[in-house]
C-alpha cells in the first residue's frame, strides 16, 4: 500500500468512528421508522380459548365469553367497544366503507390500552325474555354483565341450519385526538347464537 491508500483507509475509518460516536444525537434528530399500526379485537370462549363458544342459548341461562383488545397503534389509545345483537338480515359493519352497524348498542366498554399492551374482560350474557310466534322468535330482554337491556329483534326460522340465529358482535371504535371524537376502527368480531327459547 502506498501513502495515498493509507490516507483513504484512515479517512474512511475516522468517518465511521465519528458516525458511531454521533449516532445517539442523530437518533434524536432523525425520526424512527414506524411499523404498520393496527389494533386487535378477539372473542374467546368461557375456558379462555378459541373454542367452546356458547351456541345453543336457553332463556334465563347465563353464558360467558371473554373479549379483548390489543394495541399496536404506537401510542396509548382510547377505545370504545360496543356490544350489539343482530339477526341474520340486519346489517353488520361494512369493512369496505369503514361504516359501523346502525344498530343500537346493548352495552359498551371504554378502555385505555398502552402501546403493545392488551386488555381483556369477561362478558356474561343471558336472554331473559324470548317469545316464539310460528316461524319467528323475538328476543324481548337481554342481560349483559347483569345489566338488563330491552331488545326489539326477531329472527325467522332458518330451515337450512334449523334454528333461530342471532349474532352477538363487538365493534371497536378509536378516539381520534385530531378530530376530538370516536371513529369506527373497522374492527368487529362476533359469535353466532341459536336461541332455542
Amino acid at each position: 500500500m502506498n501513502l495515498e491508500e493509507y490516507r483513504t483507509v484512515f479517512v474512511a475509518g475516522s468517518l465511521i468512528l465519528m458516525l458511531i460516536v454521533s449516532a445517539p444525537t442523530l437518533g434524536l434528530i432523525v425520526p424512527s421508522m414506524r411499523t404498520e399500526s393496527f389494533s386487535e379485537l378477539w372473542v374467546l370462549g368461557p375456558n379462555h380459548k378459541a373454542e367452546d363458544y356458547p351456541f345453543n342459548i336457553k332463556v334465563n341461562e347465563s353464558y360467558s365469553i371473554f373479549v379483548g383488545v390489543g394495541n399496536h397503534i404506537g401510542d396509548l389509545s382510547y377505545y370504545l367497544l360496543y356490544v350489539k345483537l343482530r339477526n341474520q338480515t340486519q346489517p353488520l359493519p361494512n369493512a369496505t366503507t369503514s361504516e359501523s352497524s346502525p344498530l343500537s348498542p346493548l352495552s359498551e366498554y371504554q378502555v385505555f390500552v398502552a402501546d403493545g399492551g392488551t386488555w381483556e374482560a369477561p362478558l356474561k350474557f343471558s336472554v331473559l325474555e324470548a317469545s316464539r310466534n310460528d316461524d319467528s322468535l323475538s328476543v324481548g330482554r337481554m342481560s349483559i354483565n347483569d345489566v338488563t337491556s330491552v331488545v326489539t329483534t326477531s329472527a325467522r326460522w332458518d330451515s337450512e341450519h334449523k334454528g333461530f340465529y342471532y349474532q352477538l358482535f363487538f365493534e371497536l371504535w378509536l378516539y381520534n385526538v385530531a378530530s376530538q371524537s370516536f371513529q369506527f376502527h373497522n374492527r368487529f368480531v362476533g359469535i353466532w347464537l341459536n336461541i332455542t327459547g
Binding site: 501513502l3 493509507y6 490516507r7 468512528l17 454521533s22 445517539p24 382510547y78 398502552a114 337491556s149 378516539y175
Partner: protein, 169 residues
Amino acid sequence: MSVLRFSFVLIIFLVLATQFFVPSTSAQIGEDETALALARAEVRVVSAYQAVLNAEKTGANVSGLLAQLNDVGKLLAEAKVAYRLGDYDGAVRLTGFCSEISERVKNEADRLQSEAHGHRIMSHWLIMTSSLVGTVAVGLGSFWSWRFFKSRYYERVLRMKPEVSFDES
C-alpha cells in the same frame, strides 16, 4: 264574597295541579341534567386521556395512571348504561366519581409530564454534548494519528536502501 270563593277555589286548583306538573317537570330537568353531566364527564375523561398521552410521549411512566383511566372508563360506561335505563340519579352519581378521578389523573399526568420534560431536556443535552465531544475527540485523534503514521512512514521509506538489479538474460 264570590271573588273570595273564586280565589279560594283557584288556589286549591293550583295546589292540586302542581301535584301533576311538578314531577314531570323535575323528571325532565333530571334527564337534561344527567345528559349535561355525562357530556361534562366525557370532556373531563378526554382531557385526562390527552394529559396522560402527552406525559407518555414525553417519556413519563404512566402505568399507574393507565389503571386509573380504565377505572374512569368503566365508570363512564356504567353511567351511560344507567342513563339509558332512566336511572338518572345513579348516572349523575357515577359521572361525579368519573369527573373527580379524571381531574386527579389529569393533574398527576401534568405533573409527571413536566418532570419528564425536565429529565428529557437534561438527557438530550447530555447525549448531544457527549456526542459532540466524542466526535471532536475522534477527529483530533485521527488527525494526530495520521500525522504520526505519516512521519513513521517517511522515516521507514528514507531508511530503505535502494538496490540495483541486473537482468542477466
